[in-house]
């Protein structure tokens, strides 16, 4: 149970979202199905740091700069 930002998450990890950046980007994340408290799976971590997460069947790509702003807590790795 460690706190990190999303850009540090390894492939194949389940994590919960602790805090999202505020503003419009937060609203967009919530609409895509990523909100605080959700458990999400890190499907892929591309070289350079773009993160692909999966929630249920939905795959979402998150840019490195955005990933740095999302605090997460690792559940199972």
């Amino acid at each position: 149970m460690t706190n990190k930002t999303l850009d540090k998450i390894k492939k194949g990890t389940y994590f919960t979202i602790e805090k999202l950046p505020s503003g419009i980007i937060k609203v967009q994340l919530i609409r895509l199905g990523i909100s605080e408290g959700d458990t999400i799976f890190c499907l892929e971590r591309l070289p350079g740091g773009t993160i692909i997460v999966q929630k249920n069947r939905q795959e979402i790509a998150i840019g490195f700069e955005l990933a740095k702003l999302i605090s997460v807590k690792i559940k199972i790795s």
């Binding site: 505020s22 609203v27 967009q28 895509l32 199905g33 591309l46 773009t50 939905q58 790509a61 840019g63």
Partner: protein
Amino acid sequence: MKDIIAHKEHHHHPENILDQGVPGGIQKIVLAGNPNVGKSLFFNFLSGTYVDVSNFPGTTVSITKGFYKNSEVYDTPGVYGVSSFNDEEKVARDIILEADIVINVVNSLHLERDLFLTLQLIDMGKKMCVFLNFSDELKKRKIKINAEKLSELLGVPVYETSAVKKIGFDKLDEAISTSKIGIQPDGLHHVLHETLNRVGSQAEALLITEGDEFVAARHDIPCGSGDDREFIYIERRNRVNEIVSTVEREDSSKGLFFNALGKYSLNPLTGIPILVVMLTILYFFIGDFVSQRVVNFTEKTIGKKYFEYYLKSYVANFTPSEITVSLKDEPDPAKKKRVYVFKDNLKEDVRKEQEFKHISRDENAVVDFTFSNPIAKILFGEFGIISMTITYLIFLLLPLVAAFYFAMALLEDSGYLPRLATMLDRMMNKIGLNGRAVIPIMLGFGCVTMAAITTRLLGSEREKTIATAILMYVIPCSAQLAVIAVLLSGAGVLPLLIYVTVIFSTLVIISTTLNKFLPGQSTPLLIDLPIMRLPRLDNAFKKTFFRTYGFMKEASVWFFVGALAVGILDITGMLTVFQNILAPVTIHWLKLPKEAATAFVMGVVRRDFGAAGLFGLNLSPMQITVALITITLFVPCIAAFIIMIKERGMKEGLIIWFSAWIFAFVIGGIVAQIII
């Protein structure tokens, strides 16, 4: 719930009158849903016409209207929620606000994502029904959705459909007539109470409370704070999750569709080879097949040999003309080029007319008409508004654009494009863009004009500026690429290497400089990756047709305007003046023959005109390299220039356009000083 209704009656909100159907007015049915849920197929079925409103490649944002029985039907761009974050949302928002009935199309596979919009529509107090699309895909993946239960929880009718297979469309009548206002959360009306009293519509009150500045401005009241929005959004998200966990059941995790190709195309290690394969196929289809073979036939044969020839020789019946017929393969120099002068018109000398017409029919004949009458020249001359523009638009641009849209439609339907954007995201970050910008830049290799329009899809003004600058400065369009390829392949390997290195470094330097000095911040990548699947051909054809039509409609006018401008330059002798002004730069600085200046001036009109002007000059390989670098960096064609002004404004457009002159001559010159 009762509470809310009682509350509403008490206040007599005008919206309630709407809900009971507008007496005498026409009922407005609006289709709403997330991107790629199949709304357009519903619209197609209801109104009988095909529409194309697609989000990702940034087609023009527009609302399509049709009629179904006695109602108006509107299609909207796909959105994840009703608000004003971008143009698509604004367009969708306004039409949804006016709706009497909303048909909400939902992707059954992504219930968690899609129901967010559904609940927002319910909270807006709209009379509505829900269609769960892709129900056949659900069965394949062994997922079950309890539609009855969902209907009970939402308080609106819910139907299962497969729009592609036209299953479930028979329920549309029933759905429209049984549409109703859904179940709203208990606290909602109290939150909205105050705003509702001021604006009179629950839908607008909700949007204002959710912080929609545009709607608030309309009523001249302050909008809700970010906190209100967050509170409502999080509450709504929780409701969605709860509903989904109640109605959805997955029988087997093996039903999860795992598409290896989709996964491999994300990681640069495997993704770049996949991209290379894709680009190679694209090159053979567009670069080789369409822009060489097809366009050769349509432009040279149909356009020049038939359309322009018959048009111009008809015009020559009424006005003085000088006609030059050149025979390409004729060994006898005396016969190679013949000039026929008609001082009045063709009919003045029947024998001469017959001779010229006879020779012109030779397969290798190239016929050039010169009219001395200024009006004939402007309309039918070399840059004639009627002759050149029509050949250019219909016989050159149309096949190219159609081919490009077709390839894009296939890529888009397959779900590959968002993955490509994801893979290249980090690379694009370095030049101040995010992965999404790959789309306009890729399109630029087809047609810069078309690509300039698609920069609309980018998230901030800053990104739009950077992408437009890259397109206008360094990306050669397919018409120009063809000429460049021919010239470079004749010049050898070293010129090719120099050319690619210089152009690529210029791209990197210009975009990193812009990234560094342009104010503001670029938006980070955030896109959902649709499932990978085989694209459907019929759908791709339809998309191609409608987008090509849209493009031609938007761009055509500007081609006529551009041709008119150049025609006037030509007649007034300004074109020659330009050539003479450029001559010293051409000779001393670029170390090219004087005539190469013509190529640059022509390049203002059309980029490939410019490059093609270099063919007859007998240049050394290094001169070719310099000339091509200069031409590539030189200003975009007239059409692209005008679209750029339209999209990015007069000031930015002019800055980019004039600086392209400087970049082209400075960089071309430096290279010339080094290698020649």
